[in-house]
Subunit: 195 residues, 2 copies
Amino acid sequence: MTAESERRTEIMDAVERLLARGGVNAVTMRAVAAEADVSLRLVQYYGSTKDQLLGATLDRLADKSVERWQARTRRQRECASPRDIVESFFDEALPTDRESRGFHRVGVSLEGLAITDPDVAGRAYQKHLKELADHLTGLLQSDDRSAPAARLLAWEVMGLAHGLGTLLMTGQLSEPEARTLITNYLERLGPQLCL
Amino acid sequence: MTAESERRTEIMDAVERLLARGGVNAVTMRAVAAEADVSLRLVQYYGSTKDQLLGATLDRLADKSVERWQARTRRQRECASPRDIVESFFDEALPTDRESRGFHRVGVSLEGLAITDPDVAGRAYQKHLKELADHLTGLLQSDDRSAPAARLLAWEVMGLAHGLGTLLMTGQLSEPEARTLITNYLERLGPQLCL
C-alpha cells in the first residue's frame, strides 16, 4: 500500500467511524479532519466535498458488506441450499453486533439522503441496494426458479431484513425474538426454497 | 376549534409539509415560521424547541396513520379475515401516493434520529412503532394464535412493509412488482392466516 492510499484509507476509516456513531449529520469536513488527525486541506484533497467523501466511503462499506457475505456463502458452498443462502443473508444483515449496528445506522442515514435530496451519497445507496439484489437474485435463480421470480424473492428477503433491522435498532424486537421470527419465516418459505 | 388550537394546527401542518419535502434537516424554527407564515416567536410559543415541535407533529401523524388504517379495517369488519387485515396493512403502509410517500420520508428521518441520537422525536417514533405493533397484534390474535405468535407475525408484517417502502422509495422496486411480491407473500402466509 502506498503512503497515499494508506492516507486515503485512514480518512475513509474516520468517515466510517463518524457515520457509525452519529449518522450523516456527524460528518463534516472538519470533524473528519479531527477524527483522522490530519489537516482540513488533506481531507479536502481526498474528497473535495462532503458528498464525495460520503459516496466513496459508502461504496467501500457496501463492497465490504457484500464481500463478507459472499465469503460466508463460499465457505458453505458444498451444502449451500437456497435456504442456507437466505439464512446467511439474514445473519449478515441483522444489526446484532457493533459493526453491523454501525452499518445499519449508516444505511438509514443514507436512505434519508436518498429519498429526500438524492445526491452522491443517495446514489451510492441505490447502487448498493441494486448490487445486493443482483447478487442475491443470481444465487436464488435455478432451473425451477426464473430470474423474475428469484428477483422478487431477493427483494422480499432484503425488505424484511431491512425492516427487522429497524425494529431491532429501535428496541422493539429483541435478538432472540428476531431469530424466532426468521425461523418461522424460513419454514414458511421452505417448500419454495427446495426448488 | 379555538383560535389557539387552530394556530397550533397550522404550525404542525407546516412542520409536516417541511418534513415530507426535506426530512428532519429541513425543519428549523425559522423554516417553520416562514412555511406557516407566522412569527418566530409564535412558533417558539407552541413548541419551545425543534425536538418538541417534531415530537408533537409525529404523534399527530402517527395517530392519523393508525386511524386511517383502523377506519379501513372497520369498513371491512364483516369480512375481515386475518389475510384482509394484513393485506390492508400493506396497502396503507406502502408509499404509493404523495401522502404516504411523505409519511415514509418522515418515518425514515425520525428513524435516523431514533437510532443515532435518541431524543423527543426518536422516542415518538418508537412509541409509534409500539402502538402499531400492539394494534396489529390484537387484530391477529385468536383462539388458535397466541399473543406471542400474533406479535411475531405483526412484527414480520411491519418489518416487511417498512423494508418494501424503502425499496419503493429508492426506485429499486416498482409498485406493480411490490404488489406481486405481497401477493406471493400472502399466499405463503395463507394457511397460517386461516387460523
